[in-house]
């Protein structure tokens, strides 16, 4: 009970949106929780309320049973006394101070020996010790990110908050640092909350995933659980099941349901309490492509499809298809070559009924 960060807050903006978030974040043994949501969903507001940089208009924040803010009683712990490490999206390094002085900034209250030890620990962990004498203006984006993280970690915060830690970096650096960041977070042993709208970042960093969308936390669970079984259409769209198409129930058939999606018909598992309006969700990885006119498979959903475009993604290719509705398939480069995929090419898209997830429309 007391080993959690417990927040239930509401922040209203004049003439603007209302952000509500209700979430319990486990803190032991120092897991990484990802707060996932599209831009404008209020992720940063939640983070700022946790850091004490904004006051919620209603609700409370409790950290290991300690009240950090409570709108009802007016209780509020200042950012200085929360012991929170904060990594800003653009890092917010002090431009007039050296890397060493940046990292040591939060250690002012410690005796000199301790200060030096902490500074060395943090710069070694992030492998930025050799940059100590430089200023932020002389660093690359990736180096800045590491220095900012070292600065946040050096005072050994009780909670680490990371605001889109990799989004300000160019793509190659981002790829490179993703794994390293995961390593550093587990080495540091500090419970962390990462906010992001990037699927790869969420998958790479998170132990648990909370989805914030349309002003509320809509689903919390393990990362694969949330990605593979979104509880509703909003979550499905946010976590990017890839294919989320409006579907209309056509008929039921012994636990299965036929739905009309665009101009096509799909067989899916009937989730029950399904109105005639729903979203059909298919993960791009679950779409199999075959040349036209092939022998039988167990897949009941055989859709005549035309390739619209191809987007290479490392060893994979994202294939956008038109089969009466827009369908995205993720295939390996080899199979893309074997099938001679190119815009205009006609293929068959196979989707097992068990891979079609029907989400009732609100």
């Amino acid at each position: 009970m007391t080993s959690t960060l417990d927040l239930d807050l509401e922040r209203r903006y004049r003439g603007g949106p209302v952000v509500r978030a209700r979430l319990e974040v486990p803190l032991d043994p120092a897991p990484v929780t990802v707060l996932f949501g599209p831009s404008g969903s209020g992720k940063t507001t939640v983070l700022r309320c946790l850091a004490g940089l904004e006051r919620p208009d209603a609700g409370h924040v409790r950290f290991r049973g300690e009240i950090w803010s409570d709108a009802a009683s007016g209780a509020f712990v200042s950012p200085q006394r929360r012991g929170v490490g904060l990594l800003f999206q653009e890092y917010a390094l002090f431009p007039h101070l050296t890397v060493a002085a940046n990292v040591a900034f939060g250690l002012a209250a410690l005796p000199a020996a301790e200060r030096e030890a902490r500074q060395r620990w943090a710069t070694d962990l992030l492998r930025v010790a050799e940059l100590a004498g430089r200023r932020p203006g002389q660093l690359s984006g990736g180096q800045r990110q590491k220095v900012a993280l070292a600065r946040a970690l050096a005072p050994r915060p009780r909670l680490l908050l990371l605001d889109e830690p990799l989004s300000a970096l160019d793509a190659p650096t981002r790829e490179e640092l993703r794994g390293e960041l995961r390593h550093v977070l587990s080495q540091a042993g500090i419970p962390s909350l990462v906010i992001t709208h990037d699927r790869a970042e969420a998958l790479a960093l998170g132990d648990r995933l909370a989805v914030l969308a349309e002003g509320a936390v809509r689903q919390v669970g393990s990362v694969p659980e949330v990605f593979s079984s979104p509880v509703d259409a909003v979550v499905a769209r946010v976590v990017g099941t890839e294919n989320v198409a409006p579907a209309r129930l056509a008929s039921r058939d012994g636990g299965l349901a036929w739905v009309e999606v665009g101009g096509a018909r799909l067989l899916a598992v009937d989730p029950g309490h399904l109105d005639d309006e729903a979203y059909a969700c298919v993960r791009a990885e679950d779409v199999v492509l075959e040349p036209r006119a092939t022998e039988a498979t167990s897949a009941r959903n055989r859709l005549a499809a035309t390739v619209t475009s191809l987007v290479p993604e490392g060893p994979l290719v994202r294939v956008v298809l038109d089969c009466g509705f827009r369908l995205v398939a993720l295939v390996t480069r080899q199979s893309a070559e074997q099938l001679a995929l190119a815009p205009g090419r006609e293929v068959v898209a196979l989707v097992k009924a068990s891979s079609v997830r029907l989400v009732p429309r609100r």
């Binding site: 950012p79 800003f88 917010a92 900034f105």
Partner: protein, 220 residues
Amino acid sequence: MDLVALRVSLALAALTTLVLLAIALPLGAWLAATRFRGRVLVEAAVALPLVLPPTVLGFYLLVLMGPRNPVGRAWVALAGRPLAFTFQGLVVASVLCGLPFAVQPVAASLAGVDRRLVEAAWSLGASPLRAFLRVSLPLAAPGIVAGAVLAFAHTLGEFGVVLMVGGNIPGQTRTLSIAIFDAVEQLDYGAATSTSIFLLAVSFTVLVVTYGLHRRSPLG
């Protein structure tokens, strides 16, 4: 050149600048941070000396310092003599006159400091004062120096309000600009010319330094 007047002018400008910085730093920090809607009133009041004729300001100050005004009487009770036509009175008047020249650059440069840097300092445990001294102040330094330099230069050349409040007492309230006025009145164009050239050179140097500082900000 009238060296006694030069001494009065330099002392007045230096003292005025110090007082102005002591006002402009907290006021600028407040203006940069506040969401209080009444701030426009404060900003307008600060800018007033830019558009108000110095004689108007001087006149009000003279009335305020006079023996028939409670403020003036309080000062006499406190200091033993009236504020008008003294060096101290001149400092008060110059501070009011120089307010926009000091406050505006200081407030603008403090407002230009990335708010996230201050918040980062807070979350690293720095008190608001420490965050101000270690982060905001060094980053706003060019603007603060510019404000100080402008205030100093403006005070050095102030004429109207000085004449109204200070009069023309050698060694006390007779500044360089008044010395120039006197010299011209007495058709002593030689003295007027040398003093004017001096003020022109000082003003030009000050502006060159100010603009130079702006270009060499640590973030630029």
